[in-house]
Amino acid sequence: MACWTFCVALLHCEFLYVMAAFNPAYPVTPWGFTLSCLPANKTEDPASSVPGVSSNASSLSGGTEAAAEGRLNSSGFHVAHLSPAASHCCFWSEQGTSCPVRVGVAEGETLVSTVESPVSQQLGVDWNLQCWMQGDLKLFICSGEPLLKSLFQNYDLQAQLFHVLAEAAEDAHLAPQKGGFESVQCNGSREGRWECRVPVPTAKLNSTLLMYVKITAAGGTFQSPLMSARPINVVKPDPPLDLHMEITEDGNLNISWYSPTLAPFPLQYQVKYSENSSTVLREVDETVSAPALLADSVLPGCSYEARVRSRRLDGPGVWSDWSAPRVFTTQGIQNPTQSLVWVVHMQSLKLCKAATEQRKYVMYFPPKILTSAGSNVSFHCVYKNETMIVSSEEIVWWVNLAEEIPPSQYYAVSDRVSKVTFLDVKATKPRGVFTYDAVYCCQGHHCHHRYAELYVIDVNINISCETDGHLTKMTCRWSADPARSLVGSSWQLWYHRSSLYCSDRASLHPISEPKDCYLQQDGFYECIFQPIFLLSGYTMWIRVNHSLGSLDSPPTCIVPESVVKPLPPANVKAEITANIGLLKISWEKPIFPENKLQFQIRYGLRGQETQWKTHEVADIKTRSASVPVRDLCVVHAVQVRCRRLDALGYWSDWSSAAYTAVTDVKVPARGPEFWRRVNGDATKRERNVTLLWRPLMKSDSLCSVRRYVVKHQTARDGTWSEDAGDRTQLTFLWAEPAHTVTVLAINSIGASLANFNLTFSWPVSEVNVVQSLGAYPLNSSCVILSWILSPGDYSLMHFIIEWKNLDEDDEIKWLRIPSSVKKYYIHDYFIPIEKYQFSLYPIFSEGVGKPKTINGFTKARPCYKRASTSG
């Protein structure tokens, strides 16, 4: 067995040696070649049978004696009958032929396949071969396609490529001796096509690849002669990308493209483009080294089709496949007719379609522009009148057929091209169904009906975001102002998240993703990010998609942590502090954020429309504050809110309101004002006195009165108190020359500190200091009372004014007024036709003086009659 293996290996090496020594490898050409396999008994030179191929070219095979195998039948198919014994394969191309020397055929050795073929009437077979290095410089590919596919229709094809890499070209002969050939299985098809792929390490691109193909098909086995190729010399780039055509400013056609990304060396490009009108088809084929070609001036109404391929600029290489063709059609005449006119072209006379009945036409480039408000845009136009291109000097521009554009905005780019520029364009205001401004290029006041369309969209969209108080959700909003958008455009928020923070200047990021946003009832779109990266920078912008393209709003970058709207403070409580009488508010800070917070309080009286007052809490560490309030005995409503101390983010909502309870906070501010009614005979010494007082208001009682206490003081009995409960009058017996009484108000805190007192004195009651008194009614609700005091030195505490309607059985009414006043406006309900009694009591510290009493308002003209005095 070992001996058998050794023998096989030896034979294999011998075979390779013979192949290498006597049959130099066929150099793979970048342009493809043909593998012809013929019956052994045919000796015709295959190349001689092919038009355009010289049999002399066989010398290119390295001087090897061409195996002039006869082939080709008379019909021109590359098919010949193979002998049942053997077939012989050769390469040939336009550059030459390579056939291996049939060494040792006589001795029965075979360098080429021998076929025992049942097909056998033994047809010769031709494959078109092409080998190239793929553009990514990783795979070497050889593919073959039979010229006569029908021969393989009923057979499976199997192909194998045997290859070896030699380090240097001069080693190519020795390479097979150094190591064996490796084989790769090739893909084969029933049509006889096959493709073999050989991985080539990057470091071996300059090595020489020796190889041969073994094909089993149609009942036969065919083996190619040895081929050689340096992968770097047969690189086939990927086709150029993004073929683009546009009209340049001066009216030429610029064809541009991008070179394939993986091209390892400079490329040259072959461009084919055709100008196609209804009458002429002009084809141009140019080779350039830059990825652009400036073609001739563009004509209206023509279509231009272009495609491009690439190949290594310097040195050998394989042309790439052609790019996908691109068609560009210029504006022109709609509904072209059979009648044609000549159009004068600047460089040559060309025929392009123009209907004779439409004697004018205009071409705008670009015909439509979509742009954002605030940008600058330009249109160009070529205008033809009758049979001549109108000189660009004669062109004027209009907007919407209503507004002539100032000449300063346009100028002649060339003899036939005029250019208008709009600076700082405003957003288009849709007029009915027209969502663009129509821009006209005219000759004086003669305009063609065609126009260019200018779409301007205001993309200055403010995106605002807010992070919720739980720090888990960021809600971003932007206005869907219908005036801003154009019909047919859609809006979408795009964003990019950077790991931490925002950069100084927000910019559109190449890696971004759209975010679903939903229109709210308030006309805003709302997008929610949840969960969030608190410290990441979210760069966001709005992309407006329109049929003419897309526009992006200026990007804005937001860090969620900087737009937090905290939860409102919790557990808010409010109270009026006892004795101190301040409104005290306490609260708890929300759990989030953990930043230092500032707090704001607002407070007011509870009611339907609370008038709020605000209070800033100065100490950020405190969780309570006290504010002075005027009314201590009413219910106060209090709310608290917070925000970050560094003012980043938003104020929280106000907390739910807390209310104060009305309780006594201090002793009553004063005792009640009181007066007396003296009953009984005035001539008697002992009389009943009834004290009268008004209930204390809350503002004086702070905040309630539980009871009133009357304090008596006489010379004989000293001091004693009498509880009046919650009554507002109390009667006592005045039996001593001087009797002083004080009325105190008592609440839960204590008794009023400032109290009024009144002394009833027999001697003082005879002191008369009021010289005169007059009552002057102003109207039914006001009477002026004025008086004059007798001259003298006495210490008046105050006055008491007392009045009553003598015609009615009313209670007396009274007022305490300061001692300094000389007249007083009494506001009450007065009936002028009735009689009133007015009394003025001087009150001394020693007692109540003698009053001055008048009657007023007699029935006739009471308002103008002065009251008579008495007493």
Binding site: L241, L471, L500, S503, P510, L535, I591, F592, E594
Partner: protein, 166 residues
């Protein structure tokens, strides 16, 4: 879009140059706030009651317990915790994971501004041991993991006030 790689590079360069300019005081301040935020998030998880220190629960050797508080070790530990948190069923787990992600970035930036030789690439912890406990004792895993994380963060918070070594 064809300038993709170049644009990305330029953008990254601009971004990194900005990041370099962030003062370390801000980084440390933000780290402190973020740590406190995570601690509070764990606090409000309803079933979370810290496991007493002397209480030992077996089977969780893969959850870091006592960690050297150097910057590189912190980053590594946070990566482990992040991996664990993602696999829990707890509410807010994704939010806590995101917070940890931000915190790791902050630690890396602090390390960078201190000139610490932290590996350029973020550590990515893979926890083979997590699957079993998660399947058999979800509750224990959650409580132990969150407790230990909280404890780790508190220690880290204390250390931030002093100084963190490389």
């Amino acid at each position: 879009m064809r300038c993709g790689p170049l644009c990305q590079f330029l953008w990254l360069w601009l971004y990194l140059s900005y990041i370099q300019a962030v003062p370390i005081q801000k980084l440390q301040g933000d780290a402190e706030i973020l740590i406190m935020t995570i601690i509070s998030r764990i606090n409000i998880i309803s079933h979370m009651q810290p496991v007493p220190l002397k209480h030992k629960v077996s089977g969780f050797d893969f959850i870091p317990l006592h960690t050297d508080l150097s910057l590189s070790k912190i980053e590594e530990t946070l990566a482990v915790y992040q991996q664990i948190i993602i696999n829990l069923s707890s509410q807010n787990k994704m939010q806590i994971s995101n917070d940890l992600d931000n915190l790791r970035d902050l630690i890396r930036m602090i390390a960078s501004s201190k000139g610490c030789p932290l590996p350029y690439n973020r550590s990515s912890a893979t926890l083979q041991n997590l699957r079993g406990p998660l399947r058999d004792s979800v509750f224990s895993t959650e409580v132990v993991a969150l407790s230990r994380l909280q404890r780790f963060l508190k220690e880290m918070l204390l250390q931030l006030d002093v100084s963190l070594m490389c």
